[in-house]
């Protein structure tokens, strides 16, 4: 298992459980490096003092904060240490709330907590929290400090583990009051039809059914470039225009959605597949020029 990102103690009333923190997200993105075009050597970033036009070592660099009145305050590491939160090694559970009450907009990064140490006591205390929280449907709210920053966190039970998620503070969520929410109230008939359309297009949430096609395409592009093949940018799908008659569009969409669900997944042939599904097939059949093809072109290329 990876090294923990943080270790400390989870405190619940007077019960303290030594815990380690692990990320609950893997970084599977393909990362690029900056290179110098002519010799493909890596680019280094060096810090220069603008005033002296001279490279400066890291230890001569400080933090500056610009105030409203144009004044600048230099903040040292000691200054920051002085205000570091008192409890840097504990997550204090302050309260429990219902998970359903917290909108996902508040959640930031997910982690797992695991008990540490070889002794029986902490592991049992961890298990106790898991069982007590599973029964209550509650989420624990607490605070903890990682790399000098203090985080508000929610702790819930996921996969029989304590899962910790860092949270946004309320003043970091923008108000929705300036957002344009559109035109006139739909008629009852329109809303009923729209609800029927949503229901006809509904499935169960199955996260594994959704693949990162971007990552697959990027791997494919890198692979083809490596083999010296030419790659060009895809033609962009046209942005669809709003339907002039909403009711007529609803009726036709509903008829099509119902037709699709009764005809089964192959009912519409290739045209019924998404571009990603088509692209995946094109990749298997090694269709030349696939990455620059639009959905219609992929249908044609695969159909021939």
């Amino acid at each position: 298992m990876a090294r923990p990102l943080w270790t400390g103690s989870l405190s619940f009333g007077l019960v303290n459980v030594p815990v380690a923190l692990y990320s609950a997200v893997r970084d599977l993105d393909l990362h690029f490096h900056q290179l110098h075009e002519k010799d493909t050597a890596r680019i280094d970033t060096r810090r220069f003092c603008e005033q002296e036009d001279k490279e400066i070592p890291l230890e001569e660099i400080g933090h500056a904060y610009d105030l409203d009145d144009g004044k600048t305050v230099i903040v040292t590491d000691e200054d920051l240490e002085a205000v570091a939160p008192r409890k840097t090694r504990t997550i204090d559970i302050e309260a429990f709330v219902d998970l359903a009450e917290i909108d996902p907009v508040y959640f930031d990064h997910p982690y797992f907590l695991a008990p540490t140490g070889d002794s029986e006591g902490p592991r049992r205390a961890y298990q106790l929290l898991v069982e007590a929280m599973r029964r209550s449907d509650g989420v624990a709210l607490g605070r903890f400090v990682m790399r000098t920053k203090e985080y508000l966190v929610a702790i819930q039970v996921r996969d029989d583990r304590l899962a910790l998620t860092t949270m946004r503070f309320a003043d970091e969520i923008r108000s929705t009051s300036g957002i344009d929410t559109g035109g006139k109230k739909p008629s009852k008939q329109q809303l009923d039809q729209a609800v029927a359309l949503v229901e006809a297009l509904s499935t169960d949430w199955d996260p594994s059914a959704w693949k990162d096609c971007y990552r697959a395409r990027l791997e494919d592009v890198i692979d083809r470039k490596r083999k010296g093949k030419r790659i060009s940018a895809p033609k962009q799908e046209k942005e669809p225009a709003p339907a002039p008659d909403l009711m007529a569009a609803l009726e036709r969409s509903l008829a099509a959605a119902k037709g699709k669900s009764t005809a089964g997944s192959d009912g519409g042939g290739l045209a019924a597949l998404s571009r990603d599904e088509l692209y995946e097939r094109a990749q298997k059949e090694d269709v030349p020029g696939r990455s620059s093809m639009s959905k219609d072109e992929l249908v044609d290329a695969l159909g021939s």
Binding site: N16, A41, R123, S136, A170, P240
Partner: protein
């Protein structure tokens, strides 16, 4: 058009100069389509980090610090036009991709988000939500926006589809939030770590029923209604206060950590916690 947001001075006591209280510009304009219903939308930031950021400064003369690009082979500064992106396929060996080649992977939905399916919002574990944005109605599609929002509110569902943003394709969930439509970029299943991958030994014996019951009581005694505004970023406030004191020529206040108390006996600790009303 979004209206001006009236932020007051108290909201941003130490806001950086040039801070604008206007609604931000839209980040992306496009069309969400559900069947033949097309909804033109504008994408806005929903979350704005308030973490205090500093700029780098040369301590000697308070000069601004610049980051300059150097070629590691030639030890020479490189202008921006000569910088390319490379993917390392084996140690020191790179495949260079230009903008068009990266765009080839990004997808062809630069301005369209086709809803492929609707799912029950409550069924989505929050671990899958990555970033949140707000969607506002775009030009000439206000009625369709309102219809989609109302239909999603009534059904408790979210629409799932893909769209291209900042030269990469994302899976997105569109759902109603606080009277508007929100868009969450989503994590893929293989990016989310399963609990079983976090390994540790189970305790020799499970907690006793009595212990679970006591812990449950403690959980309920600490239960409250979720009130996001109740918990403030105290660390941010302390950093800003320190900066103010420093600007006024005063010394920063010091704080000290006190180690957590050890509680060897689980039951005794639970009882003491309950008795303490904590």
């Amino acid at each position: 058009m979004p209206r001006k947001r009236s932020a007051t001075k108290e909201d941003y006591p130490l806001a950086a100069p040039g801070y604008s209280a206007l609604m931000p510009r839209s980040l992306w304009n496009g069309t969400i389509s559900v069947g033949l219903i097309n909804v033109p939308v504008k994408l806005y930031t929903a979350v704005e980090s308030k973490t205090v950021h500093f700029r780098e400064v040369h301590l000697e003369d308070e000069g601004k610090v610049q980051h300059r690009r150097f070629c590691s082979a030639e030890d020479k500064e490189v202008p921006y036009e000569e910088v390319v992106k490379g993917y390392e396929v084996s140690r020191g060996k790179y495949v260079v991709l230009d903008k068009d080649e990266i765009a080839a992977a990004a997808g062809d939905r630069a301005h369209a988000l086709e809803v492929e399916a609707f799912v029950e919002t409550d069924a989505i574990d929050p671990v899958f939500y990555e970033k949140t944005y707000y969607l506002g109605a775009g030009a000439k599609g206000g009625d369709a926006y309102r219809l989609l929002r109302d239909a999603l509110e009534r059904t408790g569902r979210a629409g799932l589809g893909r769209f291209t943003f900042h030269n990469r394709e994302y899976l997105a969930a569109v759902r109603p939030l606080d009277g508007v439509l929100a868009l969450h970029t989503m994590r893929f299943a293989d990016e989310v770590v399963a609990g079983k991958d976090v390994e540790f030994d189970a305790p020799g014996r499970r907690p006793r029923d009595r212990e679970v019951e006591m812990a449950g009581k403690l959980v309920s005694s600490l239960h409250e209604k979720w009130n996001p505004g109740k918990r403030k970023d105290e660390y941010r406030a302390a950093v800003l206060e320190m900066i103010e004191r420093k600007a006024a020529g005063k010394k920063p206040k010091r704080t000290r950590e006190k180690p957590p108390e050890e509680a060897p006996d689980l039951m005794a600790a639970l009882e003491a916690s309950l008795a303490g009303g904590k």
